[in-house]
């Protein structure tokens, strides 16, 4: 059946079964591979995307339920990798394997949109849905605080390259 959805501001029509999760529409039909598959049951959140601005696991959202909601994926977080979260992730050198990080960045950017200056407790609460098998949680927290300090105009209050 045909569904029209809006991903990163662009409309696409796909002919897929009603119960196909958005994750697999993105990956196998639209060939957007940034959103990752990890568990299929919403436990690891590697597949996190924004649905009308809120972080959601795309493996749990059937295409028939997407409707007119605006979907943003990691590919659409910024045009050129300059969203504060992306720059902070680079500056802090967060990833090890990197597989969960698209989901982590989508969760972090949704958190920052709702709470521009999150506390550690806010971060614990918002980010504990996302698993990182490599255990980069210390740097994820550091990068979120750094991204928050960059603010909207993007000027970081701290400098430096890779985290020591």
């Amino acid at each position: 059946m045909a569904y029209t959805l809006t991903v990163n501001g662009k409309k696409s029509t796909v002919d897929v079964p009603a119960d196909m999760p958005l994750l697999w529409v993105l990956r196998d039909v639209l060939k957007m591979h940034g959103t990752k598959f990890g568990c299929g049951i919403g436990q690891c959140r590697a597949c996190t995307v924004h649905v009308d601005g809120k972080a959601q696991p795309s493996c749990q959202l059937q295409i028939s339920a997407v409707g007119n909601k605006a979907i943003t994926t990691i590919e659409g977080l910024s045009a050129d990798g300059t969203h504060p979260v992306q720059r902070a992730w680079e500056q802090v050198d967060v990833p090890q394997c990197g597989y969960c990080q698209a989901g982590q960045m989508m969760a972090a950017s949704a958190l920052l949109a709702a709470k521009p200056k999150p506390t550690d407790a806010d971060i614990d609460q918002a980010m504990s849905y996302n698993l990182c098998r490599c255990g980069t949680y210390i740097r994820i927290r550091q990068a979120i605080h750094l991204a928050a300090s960059m603010g909207r105009n993007g000027a970081a209050h701290t400098t430096g390259s890779a985290a020591q």
Binding site: G40, E90, P95, Q96, T136
Partner: protein, 781 residues
């Protein structure tokens, strides 16, 4: 290779040979590595060039690693599999440093698998650093020396007056300079310098501009932008998607299935049974009485091929199959039965004596204090976040695969023997893997993908569901230790006897244990205790076992370092001082300190290095003052462990609430991995990750069996640690010692488990002797 000597196109450095490139490889004993690591089908490991694994006999050639382009960029080849350990960044750093170019001008390219060009294309055993520290720098320095020589010829100046800097050669007296690219084509006819000559010209470490500087992950831009980067992101023309359903018990065979119904479902291209008609490679895996070891890499199953992965997975949900579950679907292959059997075995004569020095029984009788304790730990799964997957294109008797195997050559023999083609007709591409942890040392997903591609006639991307991954692992083997120890009135450890009950073939002679389920005769603390015994017994197991991050050490450190803590408390000694004193103990047997020290991979346990990190971590954590000033219910625990040539001592501060809710407040890590940390950013990231991974494993992780079936299925019942549960601060320091640098991904992990367990004891008096902690009522606060 022919190269046009024009500068308007890419020029390749061309040299015939770099002598002596294999000298660094002698560090690691081949047999030490062989236990439990996937290798080529047939168990061989290829010609070990200079002692490497599966590598070529020839030393590294510059042309295989460096391309110089007129745009001022330097393409450096990364030869090893990248699964999150940072090697794709680190190995090129070594070359770039000695080549004397700026990191900003380096472009990194991943090589394919090619044993004729590249030695040791593996990610295992924390070996990338020790194996490549010298050869990769030889590549860079060899090229630099030849560029100098070429410049000397071009300007007709003495070579001694030529210097290099930032990708250029200089003759300062005549104020001449030229970019490397101008000289690259001249190198083709030059004789490369000898290894000796190259090493004489290695940079002085004080002049390093890249090595030792925190360098951001070379794939960072692709990661933050969500670019296709991982194996699961591969797309090739005409590709179909596959799932592969194996039986409920290891070794199951298909009896019946609803083939017609499955084939009629939406998007289904094909569905068929992959019958296992080839013997498995006799190298790894579980061992069964009276039969050779069976790797079990290719298991019989039902393949479903579809137009998208979701179609294949949806069809699988409608699959109605019956299975011949084989001889292992029985009550004795249940975790509770294994535990009961271990206790029963412990009461009898051990199946084998792995080591016996002195007279432990007599020494125990004469000891001032004795402790007896039983320890246990479960099977655990690797749970790489990127599920196992592989894209394969089998066509016209050739097979091309894209995988993130940690030992991609291991797939060659498996694919060749199962598809009936020669290994020379297989091409393997190395793609970034979403985690490894040892799981991708095995190539079962690759042979499955190759078989499905061959049988369906399509290129296929096989992706395992999480449920496939947890049910079909090469699990970290569980184990049981029945320990007795004695200390004299002065606090000296006089006796140690460990009856280790593991998995394997109990009646085999010599005793054959399942993969990664054995302990060596000189494993710590053997070298330090005069009356020492290690007995090993085994019971059969229904599942494959294998290497998981710091194999054996990841569980053994918990047992040994917890029991040492028990002895320290029995002796009334401070746990740190007790360990320092133990490391100073000597014993009469001279062979004890020779040879390989347990899992140190070729290096004997060095007591002074371990004493060094123990003292450092005590100082970092302010052990003596902190332990006295902690509030009630908060404790400090310490442990050390030597593995993979690395010395790690760790202290954990743990708060335990009344309802057994714990919070690890802070961890201190002291490491001695030689004289140079190549990329501090990645090193610290990995050390912190290892600590968090270890705490995750000890709290939750457990694979249990019931009638041969794995009972865990996904992250809802096989939990991993989350942000709010993770220790918020891990301080890492390195003790620089005059040894060649070694790896860190594995050795950083083992000590954290006993450090936390010892801290829980210190906080509460509760001695945890069985993992995971959740089974003793613990949880995170």
């Amino acid at each position: 290779m022919t190269t046009k000597k024009t500068l308007d196109r890419r020029s390749f450095l061309r040299v015939t040979a770099l002598a002596g490139g294999g000298v660094a490889f002698g560090l690691i004993g081949k047999d030490a590595f062989a236990q439990g690591r996937g290798g080529r089908g047939g168990g061989g490991r290829g010609g070990a060039g200079g002692g490497g694994f599966g590598g070529p006999a020839a030393p590294p050639k510059v042309e295989n690693y460096i391309k110089i382009t007129p745009d001022g960029k330097f393409t450096i080849m990364a030869k090893n599999p990248e699964v999150g350990q940072g090697v794709r960044t680190m190995l090129p750093m070594l070359i770039a440093e000695e080549l004397d170019v700026d990191w900003k001008d380096v472009v990194i390219e991943q090589t394919d698998v090619d044993p004729s060009k590249y030695a040791g294309q593996i990610a295992g055993g924390s070996t990338a650093t020790p194996q490549n520290w010298i050869p990769m720098r030889q590549v860079g320095a060899g090229a630099r020396l030849m560029l100098r020589q070429a410049a000397a010829q071009m300007w007709n100046k003495p070579e001694s007056e030529i210097t290099t800097r930032s990708g250029k050669v200089y003759h300062e007296p005549s104020k001449q300079s030229a970019p490397y690219s101008q000289l690259a084509s001249k190198l083709e006819s030059m004789t490369p310098p000898s290894a000796e000559e190259i090493e004489k010209n290695f940079k002085d470490p004080k002049d390093y501009k890249i090595i030792g500087k925190s360098t951001v992950n070379c794939d960072i831009k692709a990661i933050i932008a969500g670019k296709p980067l991982f194996t699961i992101d591969q797309e090739i023309p005409g590709m179909k998607f596959a799932v592969y359903q194996k039986g409920p018990v290891f070794g199951s065979k298909v009896k019946t299935w609803n083939e017609a119904e499955i084939k009629k479902m939406p998007g289904i291209v094909d569905a068929f049974v992959v019958v296992k008609d080839q013997p498995n490679t006799p190298f790894i895996g579980y061992r069964e009485e009276g039969k050779p070891a069976d790797a079990g890499d290719l298991q019989e199953g039902i393949a479903i091929v579809a137009d998208s992965w979701w179609y294949a997975q949806s069809a699988r949900k409608k699959l109605q199959a019956t299975w011949d579950e084989g001889p292992r679907a029985t009550p004795e292959h249940s975790s509770t039965a294994y535990a009961a059997k271990a206790v029963e075995i412990s009461k009898g004569e051990p199946h084998s004596t792995t080591r016996k020095d002195g007279d432990p029984d007599a020494a125990l009788k004469g000891a001032a204090h004795t402790v007896e304790a039983a320890y246990a730990y479960p099977f655990i799964s690797h749970a790489d976040l990127e599920p196992q997957n592989c894209t394969a294109n089998f066509k016209d008797g050739k097979c091309e695969i894209w995988s993130s195997s940690q030992i991609p050559t291991g797939a060659f023999g498996l694919i060749a023997s199962n598809t009936g083609i020669e290994q020379s007709n297989i091409t393997a591409h190395m793609i970034r893997g979403g985690g490894g942890f040892g799981r991708r040392l095995y190539n079962d997903y690759a042979v499955e993908a190759a078989m499905i591609s061959k049988m369906s006639g399509h290129p296929v991307k096989l992706v395992w569901a999480r449920e496939d991954d947890l049910a079909n692992d090469y699990y970290r083997p569980g184990g049981f230790h029945f320990l007795k120890g004695g200390v004299d009135a002065s606090g000296k450890v006089t006796a140690w006897a460990d009856h280790f009950v593991t998995y394997g073939a109990p009646k085999s002679m010599p005793l054959q244990t399942s993969s990664a389920a054995n302990i060596g005769p000189t494993e710590f603390p053997q070298p330090f205790i005069e009356n020492y015994a290690l007995y090993t017994s085994a019971q059969p197991v229904a599942i494959r076992t294998g290497s998981l991050r710091a194999p054996t050490s990841n569980a053994l450190a918990f047992v040994v370092q917890s029991f040492i803590d028990e002895l320290a408390h029995a002796a009334g000694k401070d746990p740190v001082q007790f360990r320092i004193d133990l490391l100073a103990q000597t014993k009469p047997e001279p062979p004890a300190r020779g040879g390989r020290g347990g899992f140190g991979f070729g290096n004997a346990f060095n007591a002074s290095r371990m004493t060094g990190v123990t003292k450092l971590v005590a100082q970092m954590s302010d052990w003596n003052n902190r332990k006295k000033s902690l509030p009630k219910g908060t404790g400090l625990g310490m442990a050390f462990h030597f593995s993979h040539s690395g010395y790690f001592a760790e202290v954990a501060e743990v708060k335990v609430e009344a309802n057994k809710k714990i919070k690890v407040n802070k961890v201190w890590v002291a490491a001695d991995i030689g004289r140079q940390i190549i990329n501090p950013s990645m090193a610290n990231n990995e050390a912190q990750g290892a600590v968090i991974d270890g705490i995750s494993a000890m709290m939750f992780q457990e694979i249990t069996l019931n009638n041969g079936r794995v009972q865990q299925s996904n992250f809802n019942n096989y939990k991993l640690i989350r942000m709010a549960q993770a220790v918020p601060e891990v301080e890492v320091q390195y003790l620089t010692s005059d040894n060649n640098p070694t790896g860190l991904g594995e050795p950083a992990m083992p000590p954290i488990l006993p450090a936390v367990a010892n801290a829980i004891f210190s906080a509460t008096g509760d001695r945890v002797r069985s993992l995971p902690l959740k089974n003793s009522g613990y949880d995170f606060a």
